[in-house]
Amino acid sequence: MTEERPNSDLDGLQNRIDGARERGGFSHAQKNRQEQPPNNALSLAFRVGIELVSAVAVGLGIGWLLDKWLDTKPWLMLVFIILGGCAGILNVYRMARGYGYAAGYQKDENPTDETDRR
C-alpha cells in the first residue's frame, strides 16, 4: 500500500513537524480559559458540595490542632470552623465565577507578571 503512494504524505508530515518544532511544540497557556471539565448539573452539584465540606474540614482540623498545641480548647476550633466555612463559600464562589477551582484565583485582566510566564 505504501509502495503505490509516493511520499506525498511524508512531505506534508515533515512540514508539520518542522512547523511544530518552530513553535516549540508547546504553545502558551491561557489562564482561566473557558474549557473546563464537562459541566453537567450533577457533577457541578457534587463539586460544590465537596468544595464546601472540604474547606470546613480543613478549618476544623487546623483549629483542633492549634487548640491542642496552645491548650485553648474549644475556642480556636470554633473560630477556624467559621473561617473554613468562609473559605468553602469562597471556593464555591470562585468555581461558579469560572476563575478556577480553589485558592488564590483572581481574574487577571492586565497580568503584571507577564515576563514570569513566558
Binding site: F26, S27, A29, P38, A103, G104
Partner: protein, 243 residues
C-alpha cells in the same frame, strides 16, 4: 453467605500476603494486587501498543498515541510550555487512575480508587509536590499567593487564614471527588443488582437500570480520571505562574 451480599462488601480489604515492617502493617492486599495489575496493564498496553511503532498506526498503537496526545494537549492548554517537564508525571497519574477505575468495572474485581487512603495519598503527593515546585520557583514571593493584590491591609488577618484554608482544602477536595464518585457508583450498582434477584420476574426493570448504570459508570471512570488530571494541571499552573 448473607454478609457477602452487602453492597459494601466489595470494598473490603483482604490481606493476601501478610507482611510486617516494624510495627507497620505493609501486607500485600487485594488493593495492592489491583494496583500492581493496573501498572502491568498500563505498561503492557503502552509497550505492546508501540512495539511495532509503525508510521501508519494499527488499532492498539492508535489508542496508545491517542491517550498520549490527549494528555499532551491537556498539559499544553492548561500549563503551557513549562508544563512539558511535568508531562511524564501527569500522564502516569492519568493512566493509573483511568486504568484503576476501568479495571474496577470488571465484575468481581476491586476498585482501589474507591478508597480514600489511595486517592488522598495521590492528592497529597501532588499537593506537596506542587507546593515545593512553587516554593522553589518563586521563593518567598509564593506567599503573596495568599494575599490578593488590591486588598486593604486591614483585611489581611481575616483574609490570609481563609486563603490558607482554601489552599489546604485542595488535596481534600481532589481526593474526595474521585473516591466519592467511585464509592457511590459501585455501591449503587451493587444495590440495584441485589434487587434483580429479589424481585423475581420484575427484576428486569432493575436489570435494565443496572445495564444503563454500568455504561454511566464507565463514563464516570473516564471523567473522574480526566478531572483528577486536569485539576493536577491547574494546580501545577498556579505553582508555575502565580496569580
Amino acid at each position: 453467605m448473607a454478609e457477602n451480599h452487602s453492597p459494601l462488601a466489595q470494598f473490603e480489604i483482604k490481606t493476601l500476603v501478610p507482611l510486617k515492617i516494624g510495627n507497620l502493617d505493609a501486607s500485600f492486599t487485594n488493593s495492592s494486587l489491583f494496583m500492581v495489575a493496573t501498572v502491568v496493564v498500563v505498561s503492557a498496553f503502552l509497550i505492546l501498543g508501540m512495539r511495532r511503532n509503525a508510521l501508519v498506526p494499527g488499532r492498539w498503537q492508535s489508542i496508545a498515541e491517542l491517550s498520549y496526545v490527549f494528555i499532551a494537549n491537556l498539559v499544553k492548554d492548561t500549563v503551557g510550555s513549562e508544563g512539558r517537564n511535568y508531562f511524564p508525571f501527569i500522564f502516569t497519574v492519568f493512566m493509573f487512575v483511568l486504568f484503576g477505575n476501568l479495571l474496577g468495572m470488571i465484575p468481581y474485581s476491586f476498585t482501589f480508587t474507591s478508597h480514600i487512603v489511595v486517592t488522598f495519598t495521590m492528592a497529597a503527593v501532588i499537593f506537596v509536590g506542587v507546593t515545593l515546585i512553587a516554593l522553589a520557583k518563586h521563593k518567598m514571593h509564593f506567599f503573596s499567593f495568599f494575599m490578593p493584590p488590591g486588598v486593604p491591609l486591614l483585611m489581611a488577618p481575616l483574609l490570609i487564614p481563609i486563603e490558607v484554608i482554601s489552599y489546604l482544602s485542595r488535596p481534600i477536595s481532589l481526593s474526595v471527588r474521585l473516591f466519592a464518585n467511585m464509592l457511590a457508583g459501585h455501591t449503587l450498582l451493587k444495590v440495584f443488582a441485589g434487587f434483580i434477584v429479589s424481585l423475581g420476574v420484575f427484576g428486569v426493570a432493575p436489570w435494565l437500570f443496572v445495564v444503563a448504570l454500568t455504561g454511566l459508570e464507565i463514563v464516570i471512570a473516564f471523567l473522574q480520571a480526566f478531572v483528577f488530571t486536569i485539576l493536577t494541571c491547574l494546580y501545577l499552573n498556579d505553582a508555575l505562574h502565580l496569580h
